[in-house]
Symmetry: C2
Subunit: 327 residues, 2 copies
DNA sequence: CCTCTATATGTAATCGATTACAATAAAATA
DNA sequence: TATTTTATTGTAATCGATTACATATAGAGG
């Protein structure tokens, strides 16, 4: 590996001057600068991030923690994070945690060790103590999922309102027996959306029936199918389904078709997230769109501001009910 | 941040002794070891990866470069990489390059700088010189995409054979006017699959018509729809489509339905990759399954072996034609 | 031509770990 | 007890950068 010493030697200057040329903090004579730049070119020199970080405690790397990359919901958010970070001179590293506290701890340590400057957390809060402790000493922002009590900054949407509007829409088109396919309620969004679901019921004086609520623990197509299968086996079949994710809704749709039922006439469906696939199904899926790209952008710039020592404020962004063929 | 000096001071020993306790390389007296461990506990000390790496040139971090995380093809591979790496004591960091040489260069530099120990490349080879140069000094393996001429180890499948078998299957069920929706031919797999497509045609004495081949440059549903729209506007409509990716095939399927045509009777479709979604469409999609998880596992252990200085050999894994309703 | 600034460059300490080598203490042997 | 051997521990150099401070050089003003 080429070091700064070798460059200095070749250019006939001291290491300090080379460093000054690289970081152009203080003035260097035009002629010297040229000599140094030539030496850098000739030797193909790249400053060692390690050496630099050790001195500066700065890596210009951001960690993005997601439970699972296979959920398309995250991809747009990540695009937003990436675009913003790069513009600000930061690079991002994606870390998949599988919601596993051990994995999470490894990545937290990268920040403690100054290998990364900050974290964007999209995990549900499992080990609150750990997160809060890290947050006292290091820049963290939460995106999508967050901790209502803690004082870690976050970007998210009003999940309760979104769910309330979705269910209200189903009621308005004449549906009464509205099933709810929800995630594990360790996720804040799952608890909030359930609250919205129940709120809509209360408003129209419909009783909430426990048997119509189905919690899954993996966000994939098969879970959606499985959930729908169970719901269809009940004596009084639902006439609508609100799924907490498009992926689940699409699985449910498949199962409804497999039973020879029609969407939306027999059963209407609403999903959540507006993943690109939700427009490819037949019929196309009514869904709640979150401003995922913007959420990504905002969380990245919040984090970078925090790293710079500025105060940042949490935000709730606007969502939108996208009505398509499935309702 | 707690440093090794503070631990040493509290335990009343030298930093060398603390380091020895942490890495237990040489013997430390039981009593001293206990004192040091107690101090580590009390201060909540975590060794700085930076300091350690600077000395050892080892980070136990692997970089995984992918063109785009939104392509579900990569998710299973990544799961394989992740599981294997963790078992071997390495952590992985995902880097999205958008096939952009500048982004790639940034991540290559992390390896040159010893911030990461090696790279698994899933990008197409754009800047060959750069990759080959990096490979001379640093551990790299290629996964899925690779460079036939270079001597970088790789794991992949026989794309030509797979495409040949897929097209042969279409011919055997009586299709004659088989369209081909292909990626940009900067990708090796695109060139190889085209070769397979043409080979099948030659074998059955069918002329390859240029107008039936459509190259897209973005792997998303819309590209598939767009491609199919163009193909359906031709005077002699195709009676089958071979798409180089399930995502494209699903877009094409949507467009075929929009035109009131039936699958597979009017037009049969074959995709590639067997993404989980390919089983959710109506009709379900015939596709070529690649052993993605295994590819991930193997590429990770190849890389780790390379880091350890061992010789590794490239591999081509088995694929499988999965016949479902769309053909 | 000399003095005084302003500018440009060099020297050496520093970041937090590891480790070769030196030094000390403890144990074994004569 | 004196001497040798062995087991522990300490000292200080090192990795590759940055930067406060010291020094040298150039330019301005008289």
């Amino acid at each position: 590996m080429v070091t700064i010493q070798e460059v200095a030697k070749r250019a006939g200057v001291s290491v300090a001057t080379v460093s000054r040329v690289i970081n152009n903090r203080s003035k260097v004579k035009e002629k010297t600068r040229n000599r140094v730049e030539q030496a850098i070119d000739e030797l193909n020199y790249e400053p060692s991030v390690l050496g630099r970080n050790l001195r500066n405690s700065e890596s210009r790397l951001l960690l993005v923690l997601i439970p699972s990359i296979s959920n398309p919901f995250y991809t747009e958010i990540i695009n937003g994070i990436e675009d913003t970070s790069i513009k600000e001179g930061y690079n991002i590293l994606l870390c998949e945690t599988d919601s596993n506290p051990k994995r999470e701890a490894i990545y937290f340590n990268l920040v403690r060790n100054r290998m990364a400057d900050g974290i964007i957390l999209m995990d549900p809060t499992i080990n609150r103590k750990n997160v809060l402790e890290l947050a006292t000493n290091h820049p963290i922002v939460q995106c999508s999922e967050f901790d209502k009590e803690g004082n870690i900054s976050y970007v998210s949407i009003d999940n309760e309102l979104a769910a309330y509007q979705a269910v209200k829409h189903l009621i308005k088109i004449g549906k009464k027996r509205i099933a709810f396919i929800n995630s594990d309620e360790k996720f804040l969004y799952a608890r909030e959306r359930r609250a919205g679901y129940e709120k809509a019921f209360r408003e129209f004086n419909i009783a909430v029936e426990k048997k119509r609520i189905y919690n899954i623990n993996q966000l994939n197509f098969e879970s959606g199918q499985q959930a729908m299968r169970t719901l269809l086996n009940q004596e009084e079949k639902p006439d609508a389904v609100f799924a907490v994710s498009d992926v689940l809704a699409i699985g449910a749709l498949k199962e409804i078709h497999a039973n020879g039922l029609k969407v939306p006439d027999d059963i209407a469906i609403i999903g959540f997230d507006k993943i690109s696939f939700s427009n490819m199904t037949h019929p196309t899926l009514t869904t709640v769109s979150q401003p995922m790209y913007r959420m990504g952008c905002i969380s990245a710039s919040m984090l970078i501001n925090k790293i710079k020592g500025e105060e940042v404020e949490s935000m709730l962004l606007e969502h939108e009910l996208v009505i398509r063929e499935s309702t």
